[in-house]
């Protein structure tokens, strides 16, 4: 098989489990937490490292921001042999009980994006893989973290629905805040629908870096770095658990 057009990878280049950060520069940060990792490819915003953690093979591929780029990465990663995806990212909190630096594990995602609509009718639910969800929750608890588990909102337009948006962003947020949606991000709805239909596992773990209800608070650089490290270690532990359970 030829190298995939966008991610520049061929079969054998990635593990069955691939972590998906949005941020290009986070791929190396995440790979540095593996026991060992090698740089594999970099084309556009797709940076890939493959390595191992506690004897389990694992890769990381950055997707860039948003569902259009994530869908391309997931399709091409499946073409080269990936079967399990864990998105590792950041988000904007929507609920009072969610604080900056907390850990959020998504059970499902509001499909506020355009990409997943092009694939599947909107009535189809964006649901995380159950085994991945349970593995992430168990791994978090073993690290002394009590994660927020629930529905998050994925959407396309950051500058229409964020604390940096012009106008009253809370008007747009209100239906989601009122219905208990934990936070907003930009990729999980397409990840969950696409992975489910392609019979792959997918899950999402997120760190809130800003808060829609407390817009003056922002996470510090140091706190963010520690939090990304924590969510990556939780994802790695979950990967080992899934490997032990399903081979």
């Amino acid at each position: 098989m030829e190298k995939q057009h966008h991610i520049d990878l061929k079969p054998g280049d990635v593990a069955e489990t691939v972590f998906l950060p949005g941020d290009v520069h986070r791929a190396k940060f995440i790979a540095d937490l593996f026991d060992e990792a090698e740089f594999v490819a970099h084309k556009r915003q797709y940076v890939t490292y493959t390595g191992t953690y506690k004897g389990t093979k694992v890769s990381v591929t950055s997707t860039g921001i948003g569902c259009p780029a994530l869908a391309i990465a997931v399709e091409e990663l499946i073409n080269v042999g990936a079967k399990n995806f864990i998105r590792i990212g950041t988000c904007g909190a929507l609920q009072k009980q969610v604080r900056l630096g907390d850990v959020i594990i998504a059970s499902g995602a509001v499909r506020g994006d355009g990409t997943s609509r092009e694939y599947f009718p909107l009535e189809y639910p964006a649901v995380a893989d159950f085994d991945t969800l349970e593995a992430l929750i168990a791994a978090a608890k073993e690290r002394g973290v009590n994660p927020h588990v629930g529905i998050i909102r994925a959407h396309d337009s950051f500058y229409a629905e964020s604390i940096l948006a012009g106008g009253d962003y809370l008007v747009k947020d209100k239906p989601w805040i009122d219905s208990g949606v934990l936070s907003t991000e930009n990729e999980s709805s397409t990840l969950f629908t696409l992975a489910t239909v392609r019979k792959c596992r997918s899950g999402t773990i997120l760190i809130p870096v800003g808060h829609h209800l407390f817009p003056d608070e922002m996470i510090s650089t140091e706190q963010l770095s520690d939090a990304i490290k924590l969510e990556t270690l939780i994802a790695l532990d979950a990967t080992v658990k899934l490997k032990q359970k399903f081979g």
């Binding site: 059970s107 499902g108 639910p125 649901v127 208990g180």
Partner: protein, 254 residues
Amino acid sequence: MTSQDIHSEKQHHIDMKKGDVAPTVLIPGDPGRVELFASLMDEANKVAEKREYITYTGKKDGVPISCTSTGLGCPPTAIGVEELIRIGAKNIIRIGTCGAIQPFLEPGHMIIATGAVRGEHTSEEFINMEYPAVADYRIVRALIDACEKLHLPYHLGIVRSHDAFYLESPWALGDYRKRLQPWVDMGVLALENESSAIFVISGMQGIRAGTILASGYSILEEHEEKIHEEENICKMVSAAIEAAKLLHERGLAK
């Protein structure tokens, strides 16, 4: 009734007030199935009957569990679920039958829904279609453990809830297979009529909900063999009762 006493008054449709149901309520569509539930409990008493809503509350191995029929379809189910939440239900488990649409499903298999396609309109009156109909993971876990304990084969996955039975069943006019093919291709396990509204309403209100369905053969294939439907429904209800006990043991009945 004022907005202050909606939680304490007798509810308009289900005809019950706080204290009438256990924290865990099983909700079949069919009012006839409530007595099957009662027969599987150590003790159970009829609490109310109004319209299609029949409720029994009882105990199994010391654990209080209720069963309220909702009638068929999301409109009465949404009413039932809203009113049950208002009088204290914390775990809502739909028990029911379905039209299987995957070739690997057989009579005697259980389907545990992780999510539901929102092919109905009731839930859209609550929140727009972007919101996913997702089962609570703790209920899903309890249903899995219950099936394993009772040695019942089960499948986890997405089901399709919809409104018009006579468009998507073997008795439909026209080519129902063609209408169903996109859902088959997306890996949807089965068709039924209530789970999406249950999951959306529960998700929005922070209540735990799940669904277990007794499967049959795929409705896309011809099968001559006699299906022991009643026996399989009985196993499915037993699994839901077992799950209710597990939720109680795990401190999830509050």
